[in-house]
């Protein structure tokens, strides 16, 4: 775990010493400016900011994995007993960056009176978002060039785009009697949707917990997939 933390910290520092760090920062500022323009209550905050920061988490994970996918990383890779440690450092770093951004965003919104939070129920935001962001960070791994094998990440992008489009056009699918596809899309996205919806409604019962467990399990499956892809991949990093 120490190695993962060290590597994660290094990746974050490496990212924030480069121009690439402007990407998550700009995304964060833009999101804040748009999402908080008219203020938010706690329910909106959980879903809107959760998803927005989740997207930033995914973006940051992609950037961090890009930092690790370079020839300068050979000495680091040489010291790791398992490649999965390199992978684990990416979502960890991404979670840390997103958490700091969320904290700053929340503080700014509170100070500008654009957000109202009810304590102690607002504390449930923390595990809700962490589970969701973990999923998003893990999702970035198979989509990264670090893990990609023979263009597998492109397949991932196509699948995710198709899933999001299908989710957006569920009524269209129903009209075309593609009920099975509509139900499949709903089922795939159900844990994350339920997690945010239940938290937004302030309902932290069995459904919420099950949704959280399934979201974390999704993250585990995605991490396992990324580990399997990277395990026997030739590390021919750009020099």
């Amino acid at each position: 775990m120490n190695r993962v933390c060290t590597l994660s910290l290094f990746l974050i520092r490496d990212l924030f010493r480069s121009l690439a760090s402007l990407v998550p920062l700009a995304a964060g500022f833009t999101f804040y400016g748009i999402a908080f323009e008219y203020g938010m209550d706690q329910a909106q905050f959980i879903t809107v900011a959760g998803v927005g920061l989740g997207a930033i988490c995914l973006l940051t994970a992609l950037l961090l994995s890009g930092r690790a996918n370079r020839a300068s990383f050979y000495p680091f890779a040489a010291r790791l007993p398992r490649r999965s440690e390199l992978l684990a450092a990416v979502p960890l770093g991404s979670l840390a960056v997103t958490a700091v951004m969320a904290l700053l965003m929340t503080e700014a919104a509170l100070l500008q009176h654009k957000l109202t939070l009810d304590f102690p129920s607002a504390l449930w935001i923390i595990p809700t978002w962490l589970a969701f962001w973990l999923f998003m960070a893990a999702l970035a791994l198979p989509l990264s060039s670090l893990v990609s094998r023979d263009g597998s990440h492109m397949v991932g992008y196509v699948l995710i785009t198709a899933l999001l489009v299908a989710n957006d056009r569920r009524s269209f699918l129903e009209e075309r009697r593609l009920h099975w596809l509509s139900r499949a899309v709903t089922a795939i996205l159900l844990p994350m949707a339920t997690l945010l919806a239940q938290a937004s409604a302030g309902s932290y019962g069995r459904s919420y917990l099950l949704a959280m467990v399934l979201t974390v399990a999704y993250a585990g499956v995605l991490f396992g997939l990324a580990t399997a892809l990277l395990k026997h991949k030739d590390l021919l990093w750009p020099e």
Binding site: T6, R17, S18, R70, Y74, F76, A78, R79, L80
Partner: protein, 316 residues
């Protein structure tokens, strides 16, 4: 220490290594030579586990890759980090855990004791490699020679048992080359096994105990360097005239001796018969005009086995 058996590696349609078998003895300084694209760097990356062979096996003598120091051919570093910062991060990652000689603790990287030991190890390496004054400088602001010393510092961090160096003197000025050579020799004296790839044949001749030559991914020559050079060295004795009976006597001393046209040549191990040959010639009343020892250079062997002699500028 390191053994490769029938190692084959292919990059799509390019055969990088073709059934390469190599045995690197413990404590050796092993030089791997070959033209560009002959598979030298590929072999190092296979040893490090960065890439995987299509066929064959590598026996690292029970060493994990984290116990192997690796210096890549091109100096790529995270340019915005300071030297000490970079080395500290690498030290915390590992390769130091099983290093009782270096005095680095096995415990958590962030523990005070481990941190102190690591700091001490880095201080020692910075001093040893003359990097004291550069400890706080950013890697991006360093010269090629200094970067190569930083590279060597990261290789030595954690006291690895096996050291792989890919073109360690590439692009270095003569002073930096000498520094690197001295360091390699010091590591050899300390009992380390060193494996280096190089195009610098003079450097290889000076530091290596063993040499192998690759050509298009195939091993074309391998062995201890003194044997390789000695087997092809000659002693040539030039006389005014050489009687036929004397020539027969000389040839009878060793199969490695040829005598004709007034010239006696002692090839390879037959050079040990130099004194006997000279005595026979002097006793036979032959006037010896010239005694010459011709040592074959590694360059000659290299050009011969790689068929590179036809290229412009090369010597045959």
């Amino acid at each position: 220490m390191l053994r490769a058996s029938e190692l084959t590696k292919r990059y799509s349609s390019t055969l990088a290594l073709d059934r390469l078998s190599l045995d690197v003895p413990a404590g050796a300084v092993f030089g791997l030579l070959g033209p560009n694209g002959s598979g030298k760097t590929t072999f190092l990356k296979l040893v490090m586990g960065f890439i995987f062979p299509d066929a064959g096996q590598i026996d690292r003598g029970g060493l994990s890759t984290s116990r192997i120091g690796y210096l890549s051919e091109h100096a790529f570093y995270p340019t915005r980090f300071a030297v000490r910062d970079y080395l500290t991060t690498l030290g915390r990652l590992g390769g130091t855990a099983a290093s009782p000689q270096a005095g680095i603790s096995v415990g958590p990287a962030y523990s005070t004791a481990g941190g102190n030991a690591l700091r001490g190890e880095i201080d020692r390496l910075l001093a040893q490699l003359g990097l004291d004054e550069f400890a706080g400088r950013r890697l991006g602001a360093l010269s090629r020679g200094t970067l190569q010393r930083v590279g060597l510092a990261q290789v030595l961090l954690g006291n690895p048992d096996l050291i792989l160096l890919d073109e360690p003197v590439l692009g270095l000025d003569p002073a930096a080359q000498k520094f690197m050579r001295d360091e390699i020799l010091a590591l050899h004296l300390a009992g380390k096994t060193i494996f280096l790839c190089s195009h610098n044949l003079d450097e290889v001749t000076r530091v290596c105990t063993h040499v192998a030559v690759l050509k298009q991914g195939r091993l074309v020559r391998a062995g201890p360097l003194p044997e390789m050079l000695g087997a092809r060295s000659q002693i040539i004795i030039t006389t005014d005239s050489l009687p036929a009976d004397l020539a027969s006597c000389l040839a009878a001393l060793s199969s490695g001796i040829t005598a004709d046209d007034g010239q006696v040549t002692l090839n390879g191990e037959a050079r040990a018969h130099k004194a006997q040959a000279l005595r026979l010639l002097l006793d036979g009343g032959v006037d010896i005009q010239r005694l010459e020892e011709r040592k074959i250079s590694l360059e000659e062997i290299y050009l011969e086995v790689t068929d590179s002699a036809q290229f412009p500028g090369s010597e045959s």
